[in-house]
Each structure stands twice: as C-alpha cells, then as structure tokens.
C-alpha cells in the first residue's frame, strides 16, 4: 500500500464509531430511567480515557489519578458555591486547576521505574486527600462540601431529578474531550508518546525530549481527569473527600484495563462494562457482588480480553494480531 494512505488509514474513523455515539446520546431519551447511570458512565469513561493517555499511550503508570479528579471536583464545586453557578465556567475552572496540579505533579513522574511511579502518584493522591481533610474550613472536611448549587447549562437546561440534562452534559463533554484525545494520539506528538512507552532510551536517541513529553502527556491527562471530576461534582451538586481516595484511582485503572489500554475506546468500553456490571450485580446481591465482580475479572484475564470483548474473534482463527 502507498505509505501515505497506509499511515492515514490508522486514524480513519470506523463506521461503528458514529453509531456508538448516536446510541449514547439517544440513551437518556430511550431509557429515561437509565439517564443517571449513563451520566455516571460518561464521567468514569472520561476519567479512564484520561488515564489511558498516560498509561496506555505513554506507559506511565499512575495510581494517584484521583488527585486530579478530586482537584477538578472540588474546584468546580467551590467555584459554583463562591463565584458563580454557571456549569461551563465551573468546568473550565476545574480543568484549569487540575491542569496546574498536573503540571506540578508531572515533576514527580519523569524519573523512575513503574513501581516508583505507581507509589509516588499514589502518595500524591493520598496527600491531596489528607490536605482536603485538613482544610475543612474550605472543603467542609470529612462531612463533604455542602451548599453547592449548579445553575442551568448555557442558562437554559436545568439539572433535573431524572438526570437527563446531566447525562447529555457529561456525554457532550466526554465527546469533545474524546475527539481531542483522538486527534492527539494519532498526531506526531501522540506517536512520540508511544515511542517513549516502547523504548525510552531510543526515544531520546532520536531527539525526542523525553522528560518534557512525559510531563506534557501527564498534564494533558490531568486536565481531562479534572474535567471528569468537575462533571461529577456538578451533576451531583456535592463533593466529598472520597473523590481523592485511593480506590478511585484503583477503580479507574481497573476500568481501563478491563476495556484495554492504548485504544481510547478501552476506557469507554471498560466504563460501560464495569458500571453496568456493578449496577446489576449490586442490585441482585448487595452484600456479595464483589465476589462476582472479582470472578469476572479473573475470568476476563484468564480467557483474554480480546476474545471476550470482541465476540467475532471467538470463532475465527486465533493468532492474528
């Protein structure tokens, strides 16, 4: 094949992509009772896409991604409480603070091994948690931040009890971020992230400023994580310490791995599978649903994600990459 066509082919839009998004946007209308969970899936999906940028594309593991999520959440909530209730302005503010934190935090991940990064990011996340706890005059401490009132989106659409506005709002933000992220990973910059993931030594040896690129990837991811945190705070009208909690970082990592890293849609697929599974299992057995979730993860890994998530490979020949 002609090299140019072959190169551009990778980033071509697949026919199922618009279909998927159409279904997503139609969901709150078709299944109004599921609008709330659609909203939640969109938020988690955005969070997972953000992690995919660092973990899947740049090869930087992070167990402290909740630091940015939480930063976005509290910033957006505080903005609404003290400055103005407009959601878009709050979102922008949340993204801005998370980006800033990401830029600072990226200093901690440019060096070291996977394990070190894992722990340093985790440490940063937990320190943010303790900080938010200590600054209770600002954050409301362990009781959570109350009195957050979010205005209508674009001055038009009130957040309703059914969660329709919330779902569309979050889906829209997810779509915008996703399109940007998609652009990014297929660009020369995105290719250099992948190069760093595959072989850092060589990446440096072809003139890629490795440290700066890692910091860039990390900061961009922080911005997206901040956006998803802001969405959570805005659509629930509440922020509490657990937005910084370790389990959030861990969960989003699970979500992403379930869906598959380095694929962008992995985060979305993972979020859908994970959230729906939780919802179904937890309503069947509120006490022991973790067992079945665990079993699913074990089976998923043993059988292989490729074959589980892509049913059309179940019967075809194996071994094609």
């Amino acid at each position: 094949m002609d090299t140019r066509a072959s190169l551009l082919n990778i980033s071509r839009m697949r026919p199922w992509e618009p279909v998927l998004w159409l279904i997503a946007f139609a969901a709150p209308l078709l299944l109004p009772s599921k609008a709330l969970i659609v909203n939640e899936i969109a938020i988690v999906a955005l969070f997972a896409v953000s992690l995919d940028l660092v973990l899947g594309y740049t090869g930087i593991v992070s167990l402290g991604h909740a630091a940015f999520f939480g930063m976005g959440a509290y910033s957006a909530a505080l903005f609404a409480k003290h400055v103005m209730p407009d959601p878009l302005a709050g979102l922008a503010f949340g993204v801005a603070t998370a980006t800033l934190l990401g830029a600072v935090g990226s200093l901690t991940v440019v060096r070291g091994t996977d394990l070190t990064r894992l722990m340093v990011t985790l440490g940063v996340g937990l320190i943010m948690l303790e900080l938010a706890n200590k600054l209770d005059w600002l954050t409301g401490g362990a009781d959570g931040l109350q009195g957050v009132v979010i205005g209508p989106v674009l001055g038009q659409f009130e957040f309703d009890l059914y969660g329709k506005t919330a779902a569309w709002y979050s889906l829209t933000v997810l779509l915008v971020c996703f399109v940007l992220a998609r652009r990014l990973v297929h660009s020369p910059l995105g290719a250099s992230f992948k190069a760093i993931r595959d072989n850092r030594l060589r990446a440096g040896a072809i003139g890629i400023p490795v440290t700066a690129r890692i910091a860039t990837a990390y900061t961009i991811a922080a911005a997206l994580a901040g956006a998803s945190g802001a969405l959570l705070a805005q659509t629930t009208g509440f922020a509490s310490l657990d937005v910084f909690d370790f389990h959030r970082s861990a969960d989003v990592m699970l979500v992403l791995i379930v869906g598959g890293t380095g694929w962008l849609y992995g985060g979305i697929a993972g979020a859908i599978v994970f959230k729906i599974m939780y919802d179904v299992l937890a309503s069947i057995t509120p006490q022991y649903w973790t067992f079945w979730l665990g079993l699913f993860l074990v089976v998923l890994v043993q059988v292989g994600r490729d074959r589980l998530l892509r049913p059309w490979t179940w019967f075809g020949k194996r071994g094609r990459a």
């Binding site: 190169l7 990014l184 660009s187 910059l189 250099s192 595959d198 040896a205 072809i206 003139g207």
Partner: protein, 254 residues
C-alpha cells in the same frame, strides 16, 4: 586543515572499580569516515554512550560543532545533529516500521510536537518514509509490528531510524551484526554514500568492511587509545595484530 565537528577530550568513565574509558581523546573531522576498533570490552560502546549522553563521563569534555555538550541531555545532542545506532537493537516494538519512521521523520523536521495534525499528513513525510523503507528493504514489512520481524529486518530498521534523523555526525555501533554478507556491503555503501559533509564513526568487528570503509582508524584497548592511523598503518601495526587482529586466515571472517 579540515574542520573538527566532534571531539572528545580526555574522557574518563569509571564503573565502580572498572575504568571502561581511560583518558580518551578523539577528533572527528567534517566528512570523516572513521572506524573505531578494539577487542571486546575495550570500551567502544561506552565511548559512544558518553558521546551521546546515555552515560555521564567521570572526567573530560565533549565538543560538538564548537559547542561544549558534556552535560547536555541526549535528545538535545540529537537535535544538534549527532545520531547513533545501538549495538543491541533498540526499537519501538508495538509500532510498525512505517509508523516508526514517520515519527522519526516528523521529529527531525521539527513537527514532532504537533498534536492537531495526523502523523504522515504533512507534506513530504510519507514520501521520505517510502524512500527509506525501499532503501533498507523494509517495504514488504512496513505494516507489521516491529516485534514480529525477523532479526535481520529489525537490524535494518535500527539503522534506517538513525538515517531518518538526517545526521551530521553518525555513530554506528556494530551496525551490520546479524545482516547477511551480501546486504552488509550494500548497507555500508548506503552509509558511505551519505553527503560528503556528514561525519561517520563506525564500530565494527568485520575487518573487511572496516578496511573498505574507513579512511582513518582508531584502536582502543582496555579503555585506552592504543593508536590511530590510516587503514594501511593499522593493518601493518604489530601491536594491533597482537591484541586484536590475530594472524590466522579466518581472522577477518567472511
């Protein structure tokens, strides 16, 4: 007198008790075709690592195009035109040869940080990739993941990457190891045919190639500079014979 593009001044590198590079001074002229030979463990790779910034020298100074680069980060040296290949392949295993080269070419052309354009969308990038792929017999495997390539192909890609960086100074660490005899010559001819102002430093144990390629040869032994001279001088030097070349007919294999 020809211009010196790269020079190492009294470089020393110690690893614990081992002195891998001991007071090595080396000058590379503009357009040089220079070979670095020496027994195994003489410190050749270490020297390249020092020059390219993979390792930090314990002592000494490195100058590239008149600028002191002793403490410069590796990627910054590449941006100034000094590029290397690795003795043991260092590739991007999940990318295809085509993607790899497109990325390197973009990087080289200063558009590596663009995020809004697609890789390969800019004028000339795809064409340059096609050229390189053809030159290194990689066109037929351009869309396979690097990790699935046979060793020989991976070796070719290793060198293609370096050339895609359009080096002004090229450091080759045993570039043809694993490449079959026929293609070896061809490969080195490609290197030799680089523009006359590109300087090349070659490390190689295949003496046929070295003597064919090099206009000057430096011999390193136990981290120290043993001698430097033209191929004829080196071939005739009894000390080089004793520690490196040997005497037998199989000495230069092939």
């Amino acid at each position: 007198m020809p211009e010196i593009v790269l020079s190492a001044d009294k470089l020393v590198k110690r690893f614990g008790g081992i002195t891998a590079t001991n007071d090595v001074t080396l000058h590379l002229e503009k357009g040089a075709r220079h070979a670095l030979i020496g027994p195994n463990g003489a410190g050749k790779t270490t020297l390249i690592n020092l020059l390219t910034g993979v390792l930090e020298p314990s002592e000494g100074r490195i100058t590239l195009l008149g600028e002191d680069i002793t403490r410069l980060a590796p990627h910054a040296r590449v941006q100034r035109g000094m590029v290397r290949t690795f003795q043991i392949n260092q590739l991007f295993h999940t990318m295809t040869p085509l993607q790899t080269l497109a990325m390197v070419v973009s990087q080289q052309r200063g558009i590596g940080a663009r995020w809004w354009q697609k890789l390969g969308a800019q004028a000339g990038v795809a064409e340059r990739c096609a050229e390189l792929l053809a030159q290194f017999h990689l066109s037929d495997v351009q869309d396979q993941r690097t990790e699935h390539l046979a060793y020989g192909k991976r070796r070719l890609l290793e060198i293609a990457i370096a050339l895609a960086c359009e080096p002004r100074v090229l450091l080759l660490d045993e570039p043809v190891a694993g490449v079959p005899p026929g293609e070896r010559e061809e490969l080195l001819q490609t290197v030799a045919a680089l523009p006359a102002d590109v300087s090349v430093l070659l490390i190689e144990h295949d003496m046929d190639l070295v003597f064919e390629f090099a206009r000057r040869i430096t011999v390193l032994v136990n981290g120290t500079l043993l001698t430097e001279g033209t191929p004829d001088e080196i071939a005739g030097d009894p000390r080089v014979k004793a520690v490196y070349l040997g005497h037998g007919e199989e000495a230069a294999h092939g």
